[in-house]
């Protein structure tokens, strides 16, 4: 007997309409505006950070700082509309603006089929299952004839490829929301939580679960941390990713219990190995069926546990509440949020101060962030932050005035090359922030990204229409078409002499099916059924914009682009060099006279400027 409970009461919180949330935020803002100053003045005395609200109205530079941190940048016009507002008014206008039209939901291609869930952990596990029961993944074993398991292997690869390609569409959907949302803080926080509760589709192998998780981050990313934590502990993608689905009372699996304490709440050193084991017992039976969380009472260990110095027959929620009661948890979360939104470096005393603030807000993430984002400390941190790849890409598009993430260059390839491919974080610890975004090679990639936008690559091959990560199968297909038998056509290309690597030699041993053939068919089926990503280039009209600004000299153009794109000033020497570069490309220092052919030189200038190290800061 197993009992099914619904996805906990976090669903109810999540079902709160945005309107309620907006009213709540508004009340809070009014409260802060009226009483915040005396209340927060005290805060100054208990820690090194000056968290009192900024008293003056915003300058243009301050407005630029706000939009860069609380969102993904803004156009000149949006920034101008924030100048002269109080920090509270500006934050309210920028983050809770718009007419509350719900952001568009993800449009599914319709690739899922019954029988694909639960998806076996590997190709060998799939074929073993098929041999045992005569079918797998919703496909029957052929009763007779050559390669009786081939259709099942095809289906296995179909879903691997299709789920991955569809996940790339999910990233595009999310990126477009970041670019166009009227509530950028919500998306910025969702991106934070994606890095915090990092889950990778490579292991989850089901884009549907990834969509659900992103939606949870969008819905609860500014809500109460307890609701978010419980929702994630019961999130299908997370349950699969950390093997929680196979955590049973006879075989407690520690993966989830360890990471929830180490990475999601407290950090190492705050608990012992015994606590990990006992917490794993409390989470036993937490499982997922399709897209639904449930507790399997047969495999849940209801016995007494000893956790963080307390004894009781705790279940998972009670473990979570004991974790939340620890001051270290508020400290850990508050500090990580601060590092993401404000600055990387902070002294230990500041950690205690921030933890106390999050506790004072009863773990209300939105309220805590509001306090940070109007503070003097926040406004003193301008230009210190190294932009993450996703911030860099989205904010560049935003500042260019784009309304849609271009299809060329491919958003996923670009952010992947820069080190932050959405829905594919490197490990459960997410992405390291700050200086670890930058290596010599990655700094070049950042400039190359801008080049690919201002001058799209004519050799571009859409990675969703080509077997991009196993190009070998395209050669297999070629050889099959040339008339070679399957066994010949699927041999690896090249390296026919000498020692063949073991993995290559072994790949096709089983005559019941051929893996490379399955991979090829899987690609065909996946590409056929996953909707293509639109491949528009970025529309740009720099010459017209420069004309509209009535700029006359190359230096004025450089200063204009600097104002529009940079949070950190360029060196005078660099400005002069760039102005000279533009003058040479235009063949004149009279910018207006060169208007008819200025587009290409201006794009080259923009590429050069945005390749500067300073552009990586915000």
């Amino acid at each position: 007997m197993s009992s099914t409970i619904s996805r906990h009461d976090s669903n109810k919180t999540g079902a709160l309409p945005y309107r309620t949330k907006a009213i709540y935020s508004f009340v809070l803002l009014v409260f802060l505006a009226c009483f915040g100053t005396p209340l927060l003045a005290k805060v100054k005395d208990v820690g090194p950070l000056d968290l009192a609200p900024l008293q003056s109205t915003l300058t243009s530079a301050q407005a630029k700082h706000l939009v860069s941190r609380a969102g993904f940048g803004a156009t000149q016009q949006e920034i101008a509309s924030l100048v002269g507002k109080t920090p509270q008014q500006a934050l309210q206008q920028f983050t809770a603006g718009g007419d509350n039209v719900p952001a568009p939901a993800f449009e599914h291609s319709g690739i899922f089929e019954p029988g694909l869930d639960p998806f076996p952990p590997s190709r060998p596990a799939t074929t073993e299952l098929a041999k045992r029961q005569g079918h797998a993944l919703g496909i029957d074993v052929k009763p007779d004839g050559n390669r009786p398991l081939q259709p099942i292997v095809n289906q296995f690869f179909y879903w691997l490829r299709a789920s991955r390609l569809e996940t790339d569409r999910v990233s595009y959907w999310w990126a477009n929301r970041m670019l166009t949302t009227q509530q950028p803080l919500r998306e910025k926080a969702a991106l934070f939580w994606h890095g915090h509760f990092a889950t990778n589709e490579d292991k989850v192998r089901d884009y549907r679960k990834m969509v659900l998780q992103v939606e949870t981050f969008q819905r609860l990313g500014l809500a109460n941390f307890r609701d978010l934590l419980i929702a994630i502990a019961q999130d299908p993608a997370m349950l699969v990713f950390l093997d929680a689905g196979v955590n049973t009372k006879d075989a407690p699996n520690e993966n989830f219990a360890r990471e929830i304490m180490e990475l999601f709440t407290m950090g190492v050193g705050e608990y012992g190995e015994e606590d990990v084991r006992e917490a794993a017992r409390a989470f036993t039976g937490w499982s997922v069926r399709g897209l639904e969380f449930y507790v399997d009472s047969d495999t849940h260990d209801a016995g007494e546990k000893s956790f963080l110095g307390e004894r009781g027959d705790f279940d998972g929620i009670e473990i979570i509440d004991r974790i939340l009661a620890r001051p270290q948890t508020s400290r850990f979360i508050a500090t990580k949020l601060y590092r993401y939104f404000v600055r990387d470096e902070l002294v230990p005393a500041a950690e205690a101060q921030l933890g106390a603030r999050l506790r004072a807000h009863n773990y209300d993430i939105g309220a805590y962030l509001q306090e940070l984002l109007v503070s003097r400390d926040f406004y003193a941190s301008a230009g210190e932050h190294i932009k993450s790849p996703v911030e860099l890409v989205i904010s560049t598009y935003k500042k260019m005035g784009l309304r849609q993430v271009p299809g060329v260059p491919d958003f996923n390839v670009v952010t992947g090359a820069l080190g932050q491919r959405l829905l594919h974080p490197p490990t459960v610890a997410g992405w390291s922030q700050g200086r670890s975004w930058i290596t010599p090679s990655l700094l070049f990639e950042r400039g190359n990204f801008v080049l690919d936008v201002v001058s799209p690559d004519l050799n571009f091959v859409p990675p969703d229409r080509f077997p991009a990560y196993t190009p070998e199968v395209a050669r297999v297909q070629e050889r099959l078409r040339s008339g070679l038998a399957v066994s010949q056509a699927t041999k690896p290309t090249g390296m026919m002499g000498g020692d063949m690597a073991q993995a290559n030699a072994l790949a096709d041993r089983d005559e019941a099916f051929n893996t490379r053939l399955g991979s090829m068919r899987g690609w065909q089926m996946a590409i056929e059924r996953v909707r293509p990503i639109p491949r528009d280039f970025a529309p740009m009209a720099l010459a017209k914009e420069v004309q509209a600004q009535a700029l006359t000299t190359p230096m004025e153009v450089v200063l204009y682009l600097e104002r529009r794109f940079f949070e950190v000033p360029l060196q005078p020497r660099d400005r002069e060099e760039m102005a000279a570069f533009l003058a040479e490309a235009l063949g004149t220092t009279d910018v207006a006279a060169a208007q008819s052919y200025a587009e290409e030189p201006l794009r080259r200038l923009l590429h050069a400027m945005l390749s500067r190290p300073e552009y990586q800061l915000g």
């Binding site: 180490e262 090679s441 700094l443 990639e445 690597a501 073991q502």
Partner: protein
């Protein structure tokens, strides 16, 4: 313990003349098996009944193993590694670990990266070796292939060359026409940091790209080459770099569930790549000066879990391969009988002895200038 495998603990070696030659300096390549490789199912103690008792389903039967000796056998995925063993070019160092081990991937890896458990050092052990070798900032001292920089190569003096795809390691387009900024002498702000990286990138990228485009692999690196062909390309091009760092991506060895097929496959990728790397070096006549060390942040628990996988463990096997290696067993195998705390293996060899052997006997840098703890030589450099 099983006497048959009497460990080749040769005792303190006479301080060998370090293998430093001014023209062809020795090279160390570190390959990190991230996620926690299951050492017990890598080199399997089939002569120990306790192994099969602890691993009733995951234990690999003797007849499935690749021959090693009367006590141990190789995982069937390790054909290439087995050949290195047969060529006497593989050191198996047993029971590597440190006191009071952590079971966190990230802390454990940081301990291995710094060679300083429980200390929080700012610089990596390879970075410190580089600082000892050359005290003045120099390009190409450390090459780290990967999508982000490893703590292992973080240096007080040098900026490591970090790249993933050599052909993408270039600034495209006309921006290169601009004067590169001068590298700041002192890096404090993030802006200084970016300017320093920019200067270093300009200096190293062309060399790496040239190395890659003039290189042709002369061995089959298999399905996942572990970035070793890129290392081979740099060596082939005669770069002066002596320290390389590569890693298996995505914590792949974290095999909590359904481990057997996956682990064998991962090992075959590693084994194919390492064996091919050595063959490739032989073909280019450089194998005499290259040693490759393999490690994880921890081993896995001896007792299998009920999901046909294994959980985070402690002491583990390390492998050191290459023509300069005196093959054999080093270190004492940890007992499977009386397991240590939390049913884990108690370490028998401080992992810094492996580092120390490489630092002093191979690279010719006094180990004490780089490492704390027990870093006495194990003597596996032939």
């Amino acid at each position: 313990m099983m006497g048959s495998t009497s460990m080749a603990l040769l005792g303190p070696r006479v301080w060998a003349a370090p293998a430093v030659h001014s023209e062809k300096p020795p090279i160390l390549v570190v390959l990190e098996l991230s996620g926690g490789n299951d050492g017990l199912n890598t080199v399997v103690p089939h002569g120990d009944d306790n192994y099969y008792r602890l691993r009733p389903t995951l234990g690999i039967r003797p007849e499935k193993l690749l021959a090693l000796d009367e006590h141990f056998g190789f995982n069937p995925g390790l054909q290439g590694i087995q050949k290195l063993w047969q060529d006497n070019n593989l050191a198996l160092v047993h029971g590597c670990g440190y006191d009071d081990p952590t079971f966190s991937h990230f802390n454990a890896m940081a301990y291995w990266h710094t060679g300083a458990p429980h200390q929080g050092n700012e610089y990596g052990w390879l970075g410190r070796v580089a600082d000892q070798m050359v005290g003045q900032r120099r390009e190409d001292m450390l090459i780290n292939i990967g999508s982000s920089q490893s703590l292992a190569v973080k240096s007080a003096v040098h900026t490591p060359v970090v790249f993933d795809d050599p052909m993408r390691f270039q600034r495209k387009g006309p921006a290169s026409a601009f004067t590169p900024p001068a590298a700041p002498t002192l890096v404090t702000s993030n802006r200084d940091f970016l300017l320093a990286i920019d200067a270093s990138a300009k200096a190293s990228s062309a060399r790496i790209r040239d190395a890659w485009s003039s290189y042709q692999a002369r061995a089959d690196y298999g399905v996942v080459p572990m970035d070793l062909p890129k290392v081979a390309a740099c060596i082939n091009a005669g770069l002066p770099t002596q320290l390389y760092h590569v890693a298996v991506r995505n914590n792949a060895f974290d095999t909590h569930v359904q481990q057997a097929a996956l682990h064998r496959r991962l090992l075959s990728y590693v084994s194919d790549a390492v064996y091919a790397f050595v063959q490739d070096l032989k073909a280019m006549g450089e194998d005499q000066r290259v040693v490759i060390m393999l490690h994880s942040e921890f081993g896995r628990r001896p007792k299998e879990n009920a999901n046909l996988g294994t959980d985070h463990g402690s002491a583990n096997l390390m492998l050191v391969a290459g023509t300069p290696i005196q093959g054999g067993h080093y270190g004492k195998t940890p007992s499977l009988e009386g397991l240590g705390e939390g049913d884990n293996l108690s370490h028998t060899t401080d992992f810094r002895r492996v580092y120390g052997t490489l630092v002093s006997d191979w690279l010719g840098v006094p180990a004490a200038t780089v490492l704390g703890g027990d870093h006495r030589s194990l003597g596996f450099i032939a």
